[in-house]
């Protein structure tokens, strides 16, 4: 989450990051999935921030967006549903 916040500051500054309303909802360790909440109006910017992350704790890393949803219930269904 620190990596995402740090990139949000870098790319959009404090003003832009404040519009995103980013918060951590859940981290599923076994599947290495993080559920993050954000403002729907800033969704495109948040996706850009997530795509721009190249390091986490000084180690090369990449974060991919698995699913997006308006509700947690449908999001959890999407991420647990096997890919067709």
């Amino acid at each position: 989450m620190n990596a995402i916040w740090s990139m949000a500051y870098q790319l959009f500054g404090e003003f832009g990051a404040s519009h995103m309303n980013l918060s951590l909802v859940q981290y599923i360790g076994e599947e290495r999935i993080t559920i993050v909440r954000c403002s729907h109006k800033a969704l495109r910017n948040v996706r850009a921030v997530i795509a721009a992350v190249t390091k986490i704790n000084d180690k090369r890393a990449v974060i991919h967006v698995v699913a997006i949803s308006g509700t947690l219930k449908s999001l959890r269904k999407k991420i647990t549903k096997p890919a067709v």
Binding site: R44, R47, A48, A52, R60, V62
Partner: protein
């Protein structure tokens, strides 16, 4: 349903595991088409290997070459050599004269400006005007944005914002690619498209830049490289002694 293409992958061609890894990762990220950058003198075995891996992964393989000529005569010489051998030809425009010549030439598919120095990026209104009369598209490699930080990134984003606005004004297609060297630099197509928000591209244009635009260039070239193609608007439909039947 959109088909997505990343037409600029740059794995180390001497390591087969790297080629395999990047192709499988691209397939996992829902790319239907991948373009691998090959040098001028590529071994046929490398091309065949890449093609086999792409078939196994379920993606379409595109042979691409990146020309970096020092002069217009060098560019013309390279184009004569490579045009029939590669499905995509990109020119890295490091000088104004090369940029102008590449924009005019119908054998060039993609115009790339790899420099981060705004004075060495030559995609201006004159360039756009020339490109609009040709077939070249503007290529934007996202690896620059991902690798740079702070002031260099700010500069490159300013340049890209200006170039994208010029391309839109002259209706020049924009193509977005990852220029990924390894799987860490690959991004899912919609993530690549979302990065364009940093330099002012709208959502629809960004999605077209990773899907419709590169696929249109590829289809046009494949038609031209087909054995039945003669010239623009002319192709051989049937061969043989009795073509009336």
């Amino acid at each position: 349903m959109r088909k997505f293409a990343d037409i600029h992958l740059h794995p180390d061609l001497t390591k087969k595991e790297d080629i395999e890894k990047i192709i499988y990762k691209a397939a996992e990220l829902n790319y239907a088409i991948v373009g691998i950058s090959l040098p001028l003198k590529t071994r046929q075995s490398t091309i065949n290997f890449s093609r086999r891996i792409c078939e196994a992964a379920g993606v379409d393989f595109v042979a691409r070459i990146d020309l970096t000529p020092k002069s217009t005569s060098g560019l013309l010489k390279n184009l004569r050599q490579v045009r029939r051998g590669f499905e995509l030809v990109s020119v890295n425009c490091l000088s104004k004269s090369v940029a102008r010549q590449a924009a005019k030439d119908h054998r060039v598919d993609l115009l790339a400006f790899p420099s981060i120095n705004p004075r060495e990026r030559f995609f201006d209104i004159s360039e756009a005007r020339l490109a609009s009369q040709g077939v070249a598209a503007l290529e934007i490699d996202m690896s620059l944005i991902l690798q740079l930080h702070y002031f260099p990134r700010v500069r490159i984003l300013s340049s890209l914002r200006r170039e994208v606005a010029i391309a839109a004004k002259f209706h020049i297609p924009v193509v977005i690619s990852s220029n990924a060297v390894d799987s860490y630099q690959l991004r899912e197509p919609r993530e690549l498209a979302s990065l364009t928000t940093l330099f002012g591209m709208d959502k629809e244009s960004a999605l077209n830049a990773v899907s419709v635009n590169p696929i249109a260039i590829l289809e046009r070239n494949r038609k031209k490289l087909d054995s039945s193609y003669v010239a623009k608007g002319i192709s051989i439909v049937q061969r043989g002694a009795n073509c009336d039947s």
